[in-house]
């Protein structure tokens, strides 16, 4: 709600944005082409990034500091979202290598095991837990301190959660290396090993990071758990690890779930009352036709289960498919929101966001998607406020 009582939805990002070519090449130690510099110039002007001429000058030099260029990329991504009108933002993880690799690289007890396909031509690095895991040093502090100084909008910090770090890793520490053939290792043995690794990560890596961020002034931390539903019989481990990570800490905690059979989360997440908001991708499963009936919005059928959670969390409603260049029209975004409000019966329990991080889209596409997401949100607000005014006049 806004201060005058009108309905107002909070819009927010989810996590990643693509890295610009001038950052990718700088990080890889490769020379830039003129088109890369033009990219920085054009987007600097388009987004009105303060001092972007300084970046352009830096990019014309042979020697460039990758960390400095990454901070510039952070400024651009903050401005991209601010310019699109998104209320709560982050920098698209420009200063991180990747959501998994960054966390693992700053932790002890892991060794890299190479690159695995995520889908199509998208990949992720995968490591193995090879010993007791622990935190090297809090790994989001510098990033948060910098972004706090550079952002004009409110910040929400995404941090990869314990269960996802565990399930995206091989476990060479807790699982036996031999004796498994012929089903020599029971499923319960595997689950027990996962619980050990996940809770070790929650206690020894995630929680110290959260404590450090809160000490620096963080007020909203999103614990990213895209791997949460990987194993149907391990959802209690995901829930337990979330609770162990956040219990007793003074901050707003939310989680992000995506590309899953969301029915699997129920009833497990009934025990996750410390999670005040679930940011969930739905647009990927929906049609692109307009309409606000349940038949029009098959991708959102499951949202009533969040409505019915006893601790009444907010639902961050994914309205933008991040795996396609299709630009959702404001009207489509509006209808998805209106449907969700109809299901929830309480607009205060709805936030609006993309399905997931937009890093697989170009900045052009991501910008247009975010602009339409915001515009569609305004249309939904207008529609609801108009209806409300009509009913009270």
């Amino acid at each position: 709600m806004s201060s005058n009582g009108d309905i107002k939805f909070l819009t927010h990002e989810v996590g990643s944005l693509a890295k610009p070519p001038w950052l990718v090449k700088t990080s890889a130690g490769k020379p830039l082409e003129e088109s890369d510099v033009e990219h920085a110039q054009a987007w600097g002007e388009k987004l009105e990034v303060d001092g972007h001429e300084e970046l352009v000058e830096l990019l014309r030099q042979d020697e460039r500091d990758p960390d400095e260029i990454a901070r510039w990329s952070s400024r651009y991504c903050l401005r991209l979202q601010e310019s699109a009108g998104v209320d709560v933002i982050w920098d698209g993880e420009q200063q991180r290598s990747e959501m998994y690799a960054w966390a693992i690289a700053h932790s002890n007890g892991f060794e890299p095991r190479g690159t695995i396909r995520s889908f199509d031509n998208k990949y992720y690095s995968k490591s193995a837990a090879v010993g007791p895991v622990s935190l090297g040093a809090p790994y989001h502090n510098d990033e948060f301190s910098f972004l706090k100084s550079a952002a004009k909008h409110e910040l929400k910090i995404p941090i990869t959660g314990a269960y996802t770090l565990a399930v995206w890793s091989y476990d060479e520490h807790h699982l036996p290396k031999t004796g498994r053939l012929g089903a020599g290792l029971s499923r319960q043995d595997e689950v027990d090993a996962r619980r050990q690794l996940t809770l070790d990560i929650a206690r020894n890596i995630i929680r110290p990071n959260l404590e450090a961020l809160i000490a620096l002034g963080a007020t909203w931390i999103q614990i990213d758990e895209p791997g949460a539903s990987t194993e149907e019989d391990e959802l209690d481990i995901f829930v337990e690890s979330f609770n162990v990570s956040v219990e007793g800490l003074d901050c707003t905690f939310s989680t992000h779930l995506c590309f899953s059979d969301y029915d699997l989360f129920f009833p497990a997440i009934e025990g996750m009352a410390g999670c005040r908001q679930y940011c969930v991708g739905f647009a990927n499963y929906d049609t692109t036709e307009l309409g606000t009936s349940s038949a029009d919005r098959p991708g959102y059928e499951v949202i009533s289960k969040w409505r019915d959670l006893p601790y009444e969390p907010i639902l961050g409603l994914g309205v933008t498919d991040i795996h396609t260049d299709f630009i959702e029209s404001p009207e489509l975004v509006r209808d998805r929101i209106l449907y969700a409000v109809d299901v929830f019966g309480d607009p205060a329990r709805i936030h609006v966001c993309p399905d997931c991080g937009l890093r697989t889209r170009s900045w052009d596409v991501a910008y247009e998607k975010l602009r339409n997401m915001v515009e569609g949100t305004r249309l939904a607000e207008e529609s609801l406020n108009r209806a409300h005014a009509g009913s009270t006049s």
Binding site: R113, I116, Y123, A128, L181, G182, A183, E231
Partner: protein
């Protein structure tokens, strides 16, 4: 004793980078094609060094085990990005636009790379292809898979089946009817990947009309294999979801247990696509598969 490497093989770090660059407009398709050829050459060398009995091309151009077939078939469409079992890898789940999809033209050679020796080919099993589409497996076998198999020059077609072991309502009967339609050409094996076949054996898995049955022996008990198993048993003895390299002696000893059970024809294989480990890990696993075959012979 034989050994094979069906399924999707991991891409090299160089091919990973090349395909990433292609998506971002930083390299050409020709450059990617050249790297695919280098990856293929490497895979052939690894298989030959390991003494594998038929060569596989690693399906290096396949985005998932369904995609090229789905895109080539009339009446099938690629659906939502969907988690593949309990992995962190996703695929476009097939969906159907009508009740009787057809493959108007078999996939071209781009998806079945030429190899310097007799080969196997991996295709989705009709039950897997039908999963979630609402179309009967036999319909997809007849209209889509059969024309593809007839066009292949392969000694063996491995039908990859990731969903049967997890199907709540069985599925063996519908699969059997579908497999009946695929016979008459190259040898067929049904490869039940990443899951326990314990119950499936009880239900008659061994009686399916194929020449070989593949089983994940990281999830399946030896005692579940029927006494007097009369087909080739494709024993999934490499764990494609583990970074640990297997002990060849342990695999050889395990093959001995299968023989004691009365299994006469054994082929050592992974328990699923090796793409769930990196190429470096997969290469080592195949080398050990070869050692295990030698020890077990």
């Amino acid at each position: 004793m034989q050994a094979f490497a069906p399924g999707i093989y991991p891409r090299s770090e160089e091919l990973v980078q090349a395909t990433r660059d292609l998506d971002r407009g930083r390299t050409s398709q020709e450059a990617v094609d050249e790297q695919v050829q280098r990856d293929l050459g490497e895979l052939v060398s690894v298989q030959q060094a390991a003494g594998l009995d038929l060569l596989a091309d690693g399906m290096l151009r396949w985005q998932d085990v369904f995609r090229p077939i789905v895109e080539a078939a009339d009446g099938l469409e690629k659906g939502a990005l969907t988690r593949f079992l309990d992995t962190n890898t996703f695929y476009r789940a097939p969906s159907a636009a009508n009740d009787a999809p057809k493959l108007p033209q078999p996939l071209n050679g781009g998806y079945f790379a030429p190899l310097p020796a007799p080969r196997l080919v991996t295709l989705p099993s009709p039950f897997a292809l039908a999963h979630g589409t609402g179309v009967a497996p036999s319909e997809l076998a007849e209209g889509v898979l059969k024309p593809q198999i007839e066009a292949l020059d392969a000694e063996l077609v491995v039908l990859e089946e990731p969903f049967l072991a997890r199907a709540e309502n069985g599925g063996l009967d519908s699969l059997a009817a579908a497999l009946e339609k695929l016979g008459g050409g190259p040898k067929l094996a049904l490869w039940v990947t990443f899951g326990s076949a314990d119950k499936l054996f009880e239900q008659g898995l061994a009686d399916l009309p194929v020449d070989g049955i593949g089983v994940d022996f990281y999830a399946t008990k030896v005692s579940s294999v029927p006494e007097g198993f009369g087909k080739t048993l494709f024993a999934g003895v490499l764990d494609a979801r583990s970074s640990v390299s297997e002990d060849p002696s342990e695999i050889a000893a395990f093959a001995g247990q299968l023989r004691e059970r009365g299994v006469e024809e054994i082929a050592l294989v992974p328990n699923g696509d090796l793409q769930y480990v990196s190429q470096a890990v997969a290469r080592e696993k195949l080398a050990r598969l070869g050692q295990a075959k030698t020890e077990a012979a």
